[in-house]
Point group: C2
Chain length 633, copies 2
């Protein structure tokens, strides 16, 4: 649907209905976005219009109305179509001599000009009604018109069959925002956030508290943007989340906090990441994991768009270990099967060397996934037919074949992907293959994932620590150092910390991590032990937090949900850039204003900094000056 055929569809809708479409139109979407349980907003209060372009019906016949909008289309100087977000309406251009000035304005204004039109709502002549168009029974007989602003130039036609690169769309974002899809995305986002606020503030007594974004660098905060201050050598840092503040608010007795929080992360160039993003940030005192999960489920159910199937709660839950073993990832896409099966036992006595070797190693396993109809679509490897097509099919004995077929419920034309090796690596590999296969199958027409399905999943019982890559005796936090250990695992902290599970939970939607949270450590001594002894962090940087925990900190926990990602999944668009009004390119540039930009040396002076020009600058400049794809620049 993205940047779909709305314009042609709607224009088409104005003349004769051609074919059938079940796709939403401006008018119907505008209605579906209204909060059904509430008073319908007044959309023309305080402004020059009496009505929006989308709301007039037969019930308005005879009314004198004033409309403001953009000229969408004009035909033979007899009628034009006026557009605002709320819909389209047909305006009849007067032909009599006494209305020459009105006719002149309406006939001469270029398409996309802004006009104000006053006139009478009249019936369309019999046979000319347009049932596809919400305003299709009426038209406006113009009596007065005013050109509010002429559209003098357009860098591209605002018609969706005119293909535009994303770079061009971002450069002229103010025009791209006029598209149906962008309007829909941003308005839906606003409604969802409003419903979330109603749920949190009005239904459950949460307090919306703003926390600073000019803060202190956090330990290991390598991805934090720096902001020079006017004191030589002193810098603020733009935090990646309000984590410390939300915990300090709990110490401060603000026991139900939330914020739609702007967060910053400097990851350099990363596709589909933004240097600034938004999270729904929540923290509560006296709560446990189940409490946060129920709250979150209620929040999403309450704010779910009315034009989608209502969410069923509670969401299913899975341990990290189970997710890894079954889906090869900590964020399983549970919209389809193809689960990983441990087939080690089938091959316990195999002659196949690499399988035997794998099983002999510690944690050695053989795993497989069954790709339904895979053999038909992806004619590789072994399929379920008797004559298995595989380089090593001949080494699989009949008994193993039957056992495997039974264990994995293999059907004709299915395909089996098999791997042998260490448990975690084997699962992880098959997890990736599983998704690749799903994509491949879908490009070839097999329907695996219902686009209307929203498959939420909690993943729980993560390990609290991971061993550092390349240095297996050192530990690092799996999520962050404030996560509380499972109460039943606390004793292990002092003996086998790598076995401790954390009270962390991730929320996954359709295979995407939507957010996560944890019950936090509220005991200063435990927090200090983990930071200092286990993680070898400089506790000085967090001394204020440790002090706070000693001053009567309540038990607390919370969650943060990625809003951009959530709206992206709900609207079904392919990039978070399509749910953000003014996004950066994936190299972090604002292509409209050309930010970031050079500044004059004297502007750096108050901040006591200077640019260290790299010595290989010429190379770099040459590289960045390559015209090719604007979006990459």
């Amino acid at each position: 649907m993205y940047l779909g055929s709305w314009l042609s569809r709607l224009c088409r809708g104005l003349s004769r209905p051609i074919g059938k479409t079940t796709q939403p139109t401006w008018g119907s979407l505008s209605r579906s976005l209204a909060l059904s349980s509430q008073r319908i907003p007044e959309l023309s209060s305080f402004v020059a219009r009496t009505n929006t372009c989308g709301e007039l019906r037969s019930s308005h016949l005879g009314q004198e109305v004033t409309l403001c909008g953009w000229i969408q289309y004009r035909r033979q100087n007899t009628f034009l179509v006026l557009r605002d977000w709320h819909g389209l309406v047909q305006v009849i251009i007067p032909q009599d001599e006494s209305a020459a000035s009105v006719r002149k304005i309406l006939c001469e204004a270029p398409v996309e000009s802004v006009v104000k039109v006053s006139g009478t709502v009249i019936s369309r002549p019999p046979g000319q009604e347009n049932p596809k168009m919400p305003t299709g029974e009426i038209e406006i007989k113009a009596k007065a018109a005013e050109l509010l602003n002429a559209c003098k130039k357009l860098p591209f036609e605002i018609k969706d069959f005119v293909k535009k690169t994303e770079a061009l769309r971002l450069q002229y974002r103010y025009l791209d925002l006029r598209s149906f899809q962008m309007q829909y995305n941003l308005r839906l986002r606003s409604k969802m956030v409003m419903k979330m606020r109603e749920y949190l503030c009005n239904l459950h007594g949460f307090v919306d508290i703003e926390t600073p974004t000019l803060f202190k660098r956090t330990p290991g905060g390598a991805k934090e943007f720096l902001v020079p201050s006017r004191e030589p050598g002193k810098f603020y840092s733009l935090p990646q989340s309000p984590q410390q503040f939300k915990q300090l608010l709990m110490v401060g007795g603000l026991d139900r906090y939330f914020q739609v929080a702007r967060c910053y992360r400097d990851e350099g160039s990363r596709p589909d990441r933004q240097p600034e993003f938004t999270q729904i940030d929540i923290e509560m005192s006296f709560v446990d994991q189940a409490g946060i999960q129920h709250l979150t489920e209620g929040l999403l159910q309450y704010s779910w768009p009315d034009d989608k199937e209502p969410l069923v709660i509670p969401f299913p839950s899975m341990t990290f270990a189970e997710a890894l073993a079954t889906y090869g990832t900590d964020k399983p896409d549970t919209r389809f099967g193809m689960k990983i099966v441990d087939i080690s036992d089938v091959f316990r006595n195999t002659e196949i060397r690499f399988l035997r070797d794998a099983l002999a190693k510690p944690q050695g396993t053989i795993k497989a996934i069954c790709v339904p109809e895979g053999a038909e679509v992806l004619p590789i490897f072994l399929n379920a037919k008797r004559n298995w097509s595989s380089p090593f099919a001949k080494f699989i004995i009949e008994e193993e074949r039957l056992e495997l077929a039974k264990l994995m419920e293999i059907k004709e034309e299915d395909m089996i992907l098999l791997t042998a090796g260490e448990h975690e690596k084997a699962c992880s590999l098959l997890g990736k293959l599983r998704l690749e296969c799903a994509d491949l199958l879908e490009t070839r027409g097999v329907v695996l994932r219902d686009p209307a399905l929203f498959s939420f999943l909690w993943v729980v019982d993560f390990p609290l620590f991971l061993t550092k890559e390349g240095s297996p005796t050192e530990l690092e936090s799996a999520h962050h150092p404030f996560t509380a250990p499972h109460s039943s695992d606390i004793h292990l902290l002092y003996t086998e910390p790598e076995k401790v599970r954390g009270q962390h939970y991730d929320l996954v939607l359709n295979g995407t991590e939507l957010g996560g949270g944890s019950i936090r450590i509220h005991d200063a001594q435990l927090q200090r032990y983990i930071l200092e002894t286990l993680l070898k962090e400089d506790v000085q940087l967090l001394s204020h937090l440790l002090q706070a925990l000693d001053c009567g900190a309540p038990p607390h926990g919370g969650i943060a949900l990625g809003l951009d990602r959530l709206v992206c999944l709900v609207t079904g668009v392919s990039s978070i850039r399509d749910v953000i009004a003014f996004p950066k390119s994936y190299r972090g540039h604002d292509l409209m204003s050309n930010a970031p930009d050079s500044v004059l040396p004297e502007e750096l002076k108050p901040y006591h900094i200077q640019v260290s020009w790299p010595t290989d600058l010429e190379e770099e400049e040459k590289a960045s000056a390559t015209p090719s794809n604007h979006l990459n620049s």
Copy 2:
């Protein structure tokens, strides 16, 4: 009331009522903060408690409840008072041997420890009810108790009669937040913002849109923080407002936008300013000045706290010229009189040299204010008595004296302050004296300004341009270069631009500028003329905006209200730091975490910057190391 006697008042309330207080208590304020027209929020959903500490009444008698809170007070190991934000409740510590473990926990936990208590709601013994306390008819007979966290140390007693410097409060902000006033301020702020959102989104169809804070430097943006990017010499800028974005959204057809927007302004050290602050940012298409004013009035009326007198709208309005002539400022405090009166005519034939000289000059005037009862309280200058006490009283002839007394309605004991000079300067001086006198009178017990009075005022018809100080032939924008000129003054743009009035409006509350807005220029040619020809700006930096105006930009306008300032005035606190959860000191420091802070040179490397250490660094370091007032550091 600030950091007032709530603790002592409440503790006092627990035993015998002493004296009368009309001040709000935890319980009553918690209730008054609930949105009366709406469902009362569930305050104990998802958590370990069954009730809050403030909600139990006689109607709950016999119920088994679980409460979580802080130990506020304990007496003779027989009862303790448990506190959360919602109120206080008395808990009876069991004395029988079978409950020894419960008794031990409740008797040994230090004050401000966090405990969970389960028990039965019982009546207080006859005669021991406390009518001052919302929960004063009941108490909790504890059956089980759990120490959730012991309070191990407190840097200061959480009692308001223990005076704390603001520096100490900011350093231990998480404790300061437990104060009644801070809880009240932050919760009121949250409610007001929520009501504003309801008004804008649900009642009037506004769309909440987030705009970027990593942006391009704006022309003349000397107060914008810089954020180094990973590209050598390229910087983002943290904008002072979403001005450009809101206008571009209008071009994009998002015709009713609002945002609770984080803004940044680097002004160095300024008392009662914050480097980051929040504004209610609004923009609409097809609107005129009156439309924005009505919207704003409705917004404030709708979101006004229930425990205050409802606002009367519309607000009065005054031109800039009138405000200057009558109050000597563009933000008049209209809660009291003492208006400036032009008394030039009285002294048209005076003998007094300096008055005569002043009148002879161009725009020369004599102005005065009458300070009621001023002569009694401030025994200086001339008062209304026959024997005027003034160095130049003898030069004022009887006729002038009578005329003056009549013109200014002078009464016995009033005081007249008089000045002579150029109109604007004379008014401005008297405007300042007027406020000084008001402060002086009030410190001496004269009630001038009713603390319960909220006196809103629109100031309109500002000049569009000012002449630059020190360079009277050059113009600068009085507000910003996007403000549209008055339609009746447009012709003057090409002849006498300094006489053009702008379609700008300021909203003033009790003498403080709460915000302002304007109808914007939507014509690219006019915008370019003003930027290029009149203001001599580099239009290249705004080329995207000029292009946008040529692509069918609708007429539009908006307003921005300072949220911190508004909540500050509503709550009656003296500093915006008291309505912000984690404010910076007025030198821009976070005294809790010690931000801004030094960073390692390798952390600067990815951003291609280095510190330019000032040569007189020793001096600076010495100065900043002075211990004296922590808040100044």
